[in-house]
């Protein structure tokens, strides 16, 4: 005997999801508002637990880690000064070209991690009330482009990552800033196919947009050249860990 009950529930479920899509996420908005306190509580508990774990660490281990972190801070401070100088130079060049960077941004707190679903999305705690619009660009710390706003609700919004499997994003690669299409592979990873003649070095940045200061999308991790293939495959990843994001900057 065929399970007609299951078929009926499946059809009703699909109809609900379809109606939600057509009504610009009316049901989703209500559900996300319900989940918001739960995600806030989860973030607070996990933060308390990680603080608790600190009490059970060995003194010598902490001293060593402290020393390493101090060295790392010095390195990063040097890098920050260089980056600041480059940013100022970039701004003055943009001013010369009458392309001033006058974007307005808002900070959003990340409520869920992208690993919660296969769609490579996460939820932020800002929405229509803060003036957010669908399609707005989302950045991590340091101006790293990570995605765009999908559906926007009253006090929440869904961020769709550029690395969503199959999503195609226009990027510039290499010293000559060759314009290519990067395809998302999920979890902050991307793939580019380029002719083998183009030299790409591992560790070089992939830029989201050269003018307007939109920032870096990723860093080349691996270049694969198969002898039988006239194309090379470039794998690159976002320099930020998208699973560990707590705050993001969103264009208004």
């Amino acid at each position: 005997m065929f399970p007609w009950g299951l078929l009926l529930v499946g059809l009703i479920g699909s109809a609900v999801v379809g109606a939600n899509t057509l009504s610009s996420g009316m049901i989703s908005g209500a559900l996300l508002s319900t989940g918001k306190p739960l995600w806030r509580a989860e973030a607070s508990i996990s933060s308390s637990l990680s603080n608790l774990a600190l009490h059970f660490r060995f003194k010598q281990g902490l001293i060593n880690e402290n020393r390493e972190l101090k060295e790392r801070i010095e390195e990063l401070e040097l890098s920050r000064v260089t980056s600041e100088a480059l940013r100022e130079e970039n701004s003055s060049l943009l001013r010369l070209l009458n392309r001033t960077d006058n974007r307005r941004q808002i900070v959003g707190s990340v409520l869920t991690r992208p690993s919660r679903t296969l769609y490579d999305t996460f939820i932020v705690d800002v929405g229509l009330a803060e003036g957010l619009q669908s399609g707005a660009h989302v950045f991590a710390e340091g101006g790293v482009a990570i995605g765009t706003i999908g559906d926007v609700y009253e006090d929440t919004a869904i961020v769709s990552l550029y690395s969503t499997p199959g999503r195609v994003t226009d990027v510039y690669v290499g010293e000559d800033a060759i314009a290519v299409e990067a395809t998302g592979r999920g979890g902050g990873d991307f793939e580019i196919r380029l002719p083998r003649g183009v030299e790409i070095v591992e560790g070089s940045p992939i830029v989201f947009s050269t003018l307007g200061g939109s920032g870096v999308l990723g860093v080349v991790e691996k270049v694969i050249n198969a002898p039988a293939d006239p194309f090379q495959t470039i794998f690159f990843s976002s320099p930020v860990n998208v699973q560990g994001l707590r705050m993001v900057m969103i264009d208004l």
């Binding site: 299951l6 479920g13 559900l31 869920t112 679903t117 999305t121 939820i123 869904i158 499997p165």
Partner: protein, 89 residues
Amino acid sequence: MLLRILLSIFFFGSIFLFPWFVTVLLGIALLFLSSGYEVILGGVLLDLLYAAPAPTFFNTAFLFTVVFFVLALLAFFIKKQLMMYPQSR
């Protein structure tokens, strides 16, 4: 019955709190204790909460609804072949 209720609570809780694969594993476990209706509802909830059209999933937002529906159907036919499940389930 108690196990089914507990597993259902964990299953729906995992939709909000755990990665998708934990939800899928709990859903599969729940399929062997229930008729599968709550698992399909879980799929609907997952799609309503997190879905965004992705090219790999044919630009639709029905991925988990469809996956859990197919799993529920499979479980129904598998259970019919197993002696440990009464036919009424």
